[in-house]
Subunit: 286 residues, 2 copies
């Protein structure tokens, strides 16, 4: 497995793959791998000759009060896990390599980003869209792989790739969960033991919502209130948002007559966790 | 010469060139060709195996009060001129092809765009940056060719191409002028005869500024005031801006001790013309 620190190095690597007629898959990450990342890498391996994983904790997508500085990092462990997963190259640039002095360009996706995490994290999706546009242009993959857990990010990336005529396929991979249902996240390491136990309510509430809809419930407001009640009953949890939105435009939904995204963000102490499910559908509807 | 109306068609054309190992040059235009456009095409022919010219009057870069609707168009004449100039393919998409329903993404270049034409035309460079990013991704040229006349646009395009890691070379081609010195522009057709005669003051004032600097003048303010006086003495002319700015950052300049951009925008009736020169340097410093 090759480790590339510069744009020039990863381009040379990709060029080599291309010159042999090989296809390239990209898994963009912020590192500190868990089973969710490994599922992305495995899925990429299945459909691409060479898998590139980028590891970059992107300062542009963190707000000034957010956890950029303390975001967990362990490059040696990540590299070993990537190699084990059959990754061909890791692209791990410095912030200076990605945003050299004089950098002044941003990619902005409208509409989709003024709700859910876009409201709680102003500037977040602008940072995501900008770094993803850069990574796509640097690696020029045939396919890029994103997890369902960051559903809004996935929709933003799909939108920008289509709007800017980026010639690649965006593949969504279902959320990987712990044994008790908690969605895998690099931020789970922040949780105190009692917060960790309490956090299972997120999964339980999503399952409850699915049950309600499977049982015939069509009123999005009733589903949302039920979820809010379940989470509010857990003393460690503080709701940021619980929302049901249309796909793929993320518009507010009253009637549950089509696939819709139930998304939530909840704080446990200072740790903010997100999770989601597709009501009346599956990850394939994202 | 091939005429492509869709992204799919022009991509298939470029793919053909690539499969033969050929290089591709892109000349992005809004059509209604004059000698300035032809100079871009000829320059592209010199260094690329196949030249693609895009013709697209981009609604995104016109303000609501601007001349989008009346901007001159003559596709048949443009196609004939492009063929004559040795162009291999014209890409002339509809607005619907470039901005289909749901389009929501914009590319924004900071810093460079909050002065000169960026002040007079809010949103203009956002529209330019967005369409150029799209065209670069659609055609993926080895080189793209831009005229010196739109110097700020050139600097914005260079910046976005570097910032978004677009793997191509941006080539600047010097401004082509009429016999009396007026810079070629598709908008020159708007001018009434007496406005057309008066407009030569733009060229004359740029030459005067070059003379002053060649003669040892180092005070940017004095050069600027001299130009303003010359233009103000012409009754048909109404100054939008006359400014001297650093290269490539377009910061205000007091001392003329390095190459600097003298740029101006002047209205003749409802027609707004721009022109520029590089003091202490040449187009190569852009």
């Amino acid at each position: 497995m090759q480790i590339c620190r510069t744009v020039k190095e990863i381009r040379a690597f990709v060029q080599q793959v291309r010159s042999r007629g090989g296809s390239v898959g990209l898994v963009p990450t912020m590192g500190y791998f868990h089973q969710g990342h490994l599922a992305l890498m495995r899925r990429a391996r299945e459909s691409c000759d060479a898998v590139v994983v980028s590891i970059f904790v992107n300062p542009l997508q963190f707000g000034p009060q957010e956890d950029f500085a303390r975001y967990p990092r362990d490059f040696a462990r990540d590299a070993a896990m990537a190699e084990e997963a059959g990754v061909a190259a890791v692209f791990a640039p410095s912030a200076e390599e990605m945003y050299p002095s004089g950098f002044a360009t941003h990619v902005e996706v409208g509409g989709l980003t003024d709700c859910l995490c876009g409201l709680s994290r102003p500037g977040h999706f602008r940072g995501v869209a900008t770094v993803v546009a850069k990574l796509f242009n640097i690696v020029r993959p045939d396919r890029a792989f994103f997890g369902q857990k960051d559903a809004q990010q996935l929709l933003v990336v799909r939108r920008l790739a289509a709007d800017l005529n980026m010639d690649l396929e965006i593949v969504v991979v279902p959320t990987v969960r712990e044994a008790d249902g908690l969605a895998m996240s690099s931020r789970n390491v922040y949780l105190e033991p009692e917060q960790r136990r309490a956090a299972v309510v997120l999964y339980q509430s999503l399952r409850e919502a699915e049950e309600m809809v499977r049982g015939g419930e069509r009123d999005a407001g009733r589903v949302r209130r039920k979820i809010e009640e379940m989470i509010a009953a857990v003393p460690e949890a503080r709701i940021d948002y619980v929302e049901i939105r249309s796909l793929p435009a993320l518009e507010p939904v009253q009637e549950l007559d089509a696939p819709a995204l139930l998304a939530l963000a909840v704080r446990f102490g200072t740790t903010r966790l997100i999770d989601n499910t597709v009501l009346n559908g599956s990850a394939a509807d994202l």
